[in-house]
């Protein structure tokens, strides 16, 4: 089984540990991995801000980078959602690129989706003794429409007790450039999110989208609230020999 890694710009720059954890887990499952260096960014920052011409440039780079991949495994639900849902639409006036976009959208999976649906693995032998809560990113929930696979994987982690996050389907307030353009509203949203997280009394916050977690952890930190913030790949890499 061969797959290409789509690490995402956020992880490449800020959280390479997420990428490393993904590599560890996928290799343990017997997947042969490569990392096409042509990849940079899926284009969400410009896409969501209304700059679709600029987005097409970023998208073409991504499409080209993964042209020869059999499978693509992505480290972020929102980035994979962007590619699956929006790339074909972006190129509706360029039929050649539209075809290539469609081809990519059919072979790309978010990390937990890939494990459960393609590799048919739910238990990777992970061990993490902790009480944790899971933040589901809006784009992974409503664009990629994936809510089940992370839950199933986390259920199989030995020692991990999951507590449901109150108002879990509510946005964390990141929204890309929204967090800067509408910083005050973003603050109010993320503050409320941290309140709900603290209500769970969890010591660990888990998610499948580091952009959301970067937003939430930034506020937790500012509030002096000490929680371990982990990408699901990091959780699954825990306790299993690398």
């Amino acid at each position: 089984m061969k797959a290409s890694l789509f690490i995402t710009c956020v992880n490449d720059v800020f959280y390479p540990r997420v990428g490393k954890a993904m590599v560890q887990v996928l290799r343990k499952c017997g997947v042969q991995l490569d990392f096409p260096e042509g990849q940079v960014c899926c284009g969400q920052p410009s896409y969501n801000s209304g700059y679709h011409e600029e987005t097409r440039q970023a998208a073409k780079q991504i499409i080209s980078a993964f042209a020869n991949s059999e499978y693509v495994v992505g480290a972020s639900g929102s980035c994979v959602g962007m590619i699956k849902q929006h790339y074909p639409e972006l190129f509706q006036d360029e039929p050649d690129w539209e075809d290539r976009a469609r081809e990519l959208s059919q072979k790309i999976y978010e990390f937990s989706q890939f494990l459960v649906e393609v590799l048919r693995v739910e238990d990777v032998g992970a061990v993490l003794n902790a009480t944790a809560t899971y933040h589901q990113s809006c784009h992974m929930t409503r664009i990629l429409k994936e809510t089940e696979t992370p839950k199933r994987l986390l259920e199989k982690v030995q020692g991990l007790e999951m507590v449901e996050l109150p108002l879990g389907t509510d946005c964390c307030g990141f929204g890309g450039t929204f967090s800067v353009k509408m910083a005050h509203i973003s603050e109010a949203m993320v503050q409320e999110k941290t309140e709900h997280i603290m209500e769970t009394k969890a010591r660990v916050l888990i998610g499948a989208d580091m952009a959301c977690l970067m937003n939430i952890s930034g506020r937790l930190r500012r509030n002096g609230q000490k929680l371990r913030v982990m990408h699901i790949a990091e959780v699954l890499a825990e306790g299993s020999a690398g």
Partner: protein, 469 residues
């Protein structure tokens, strides 16, 4: 009506309002729970939504035909129809009628359209006592405030504030318990209902096949506004048509459940004409004012589905932005996701361009819309339009160009990363975290810590060791 800095001002004010914050959480919880419960009870909610979408799409596709049928039937029933292309025309018609009737008191049941065209102001300028009779509208009228929610305009007011407003009117101190406040309203408004020369309602649905207007309330104020006054005016947006009663079933099944979690409004009135010869109560004259005011502009565009809206308010109830800032911050008659879109489409996007950006594109609105409007997609489309019209800041356009250049050029991207990393390293505290960021980062770091880029990027690690394992 609003200009650029004003939105951020209103937002800041709203965010500082503790009462508003409490009220918004309470409102969203109540309405979400109510709606969710009804969705569960119905068991096949999506089928109803899909059918409503089909009906609304069909109506818009044939809007001229159905408006023709509706107005013909209204006239057959003894009513008068006025087609108002603009808000100004509607105001002229209504104020002329008020003048003709020597109107001193004008009772109003809730009408969002009347707020859209600023009707009250025009009537008040004539010295007419405009009495809002929906309890929430009455409260904000007394407070001189715009609505905070489409369905419950005064949900941000505490009972202390309401008691204060009523006490001022009563000329004595009223206690703040609900029954006392309710009794006061009933007592104060009843004479207005009975003595008003004209009563006006909005229209939830206009049934073309019988020339009927359906108006729903829980208080009975639409009924009160229409049985005593000699003239009844219906003010309706032209898209409020349903073809027949079967269609009304679908829409009226969804509306109360989606709006407040009620299975049915207390009063669902079907008005099909002025009083008939043998009737004792009811208006002698029935005027239906059908308003365009920019709706036809939307018809020929990709935003057409926005006219499906049945004004249930569900999008407000699930919106995380609305949750934090409330309806008044939007500055427009309609708020929440639907309001942000309507402001740009019915009015000028140049004026309202902040609204589509006050959104994280979380998609909760679209997910819960009673008639399947792709609200988040429309909001995104409006952003694209804003960019194309040159309404976004120059610095942002430059940044986006730089972004796309870097995103299509890995070498440049890595170079930028190296430079960025060294710049930011200097701004980090001893924990390796940025508390005061430069440039655009400052807005972030005002409220949150920002991580330093890792010493070694993933791709660098992969090149050096990861790839070889």
């Amino acid at each position: 009506m609003a200009h650029e800095p004003a939105f951020q001002e209103r937002v800041k004010k709203a965010l500082q309002n503790e009462n508003m914050k409490k009220a918004l959480r309470n409102v969203q919880a109540t309405f979400r729970n109510g709606r969710d419960r009804q969705v569960e009870i119905m068991g096949n909610w999506d089928e109803w939504v899909d059918r409503a979408k089909e009906i609304r799409a069909h109506v818009l596709e044939n809007l001229d035909s159905y408006l023709d049928q509706f107005s013909t039937n209204v006239e057959k029933n003894g009513g008068k129809v006025f087609f108002a292309a603009t808000g100004q025309e509607a105001i002229e018609y209504i104020t002329n009628l008020a003048r003709e009737k020597n109107c001193k008191t004008f009772v109003k049941s809730k009408s969002m359209v009347s707020e859209e065209i600023h009707l009250n102001h025009a009537l008040e300028e004539m010295g007419i006592d405009v009495a809002e009779t929906d309890l929430g509208e009455y409260i904000i009228q007394l407070a001189h405030e715009p609505p905070a929610h489409i369905v419950g305009p005064a949900l941000h007011k505490t009972r202390e504030e309401i008691s204060e407003l009523f006490s001022q009117l009563a000329g004595k101190k009223l206690s703040k318990d609900t029954p006392t406040l309710t009794r006061f309203v009933r007592k104060t408004l009843r004479p207005k209902f009975l003595n008003a020369e004209i009563g006006m309602t909005g229209c939830n649905f206009a049934v073309a096949s019988t020339g009927s207007v359906v108006v729903v309330t829980n208080e009975g104020n639409a009924d009160m506004s229409t049985i005593s006054p000699k003239a009844h005016i219906v003010l309706m947006g032209m898209e409020r048509i349903v073809p027949d009663w079967k269609s009304l079933d679908v829409c009226q099944t969804l509306l109360p459940r989606a709006a407040t979690g009620q299975a049915m409004n207390v009063y669902t009135n079907v008005i099909s004409g002025p009083k008939q010869a043998a009737d004792i109560d009811g208006p002698e004259e029935w005027h239906v004012v059908i308003l365009d005011n920019g709706r036809s502009n939307i018809l020929g565009t990709k935003y057409r589905e926005v006219l499906h809206c049945i004004r249930c308010g569900a999008c407000l109830n699930y919106c995380p932005t609305y949750r934090q800032i409330g309806g008044q911050a939007y500055g427009f008659a309609y708020s929440g996701p639907i309001g942000a879109i309507l402001a740009c489409l019915l009015d000028d996007i140049k004026v309202w361009k902040d609204l589509p950006f006050a959104c994280t594109l979380c998609g909760a609105c679209t997910e819960n819309c009673s008639v399947g409007i792709p609200l988040d997609q429309f909001i995104l489309q409006l952003r694209v339009e804003a960019v194309q019209k040159g309404l976004t800041p120059w610095s942002e356009r430059v940044a986006m160009k730089a972004f796309s250049t870097a995103a299509s050029n890995p070498g440049l991207y890595e170079l930028g990363l190296k430079i960025g990393r060294s710049v930011l390293r200097g701004r980090a505290n001893q924990d390796g975290v940025i508390e005061k960021g430069p440039g655009p980062l400052a807005a972030w770091t005002q409220h949150k810590d920002f991580p330093l880029p890792a010493e070694q990027s993933f791709r660098d690690w992969w090149r050096k060791e990861g790839g070889n394992q």
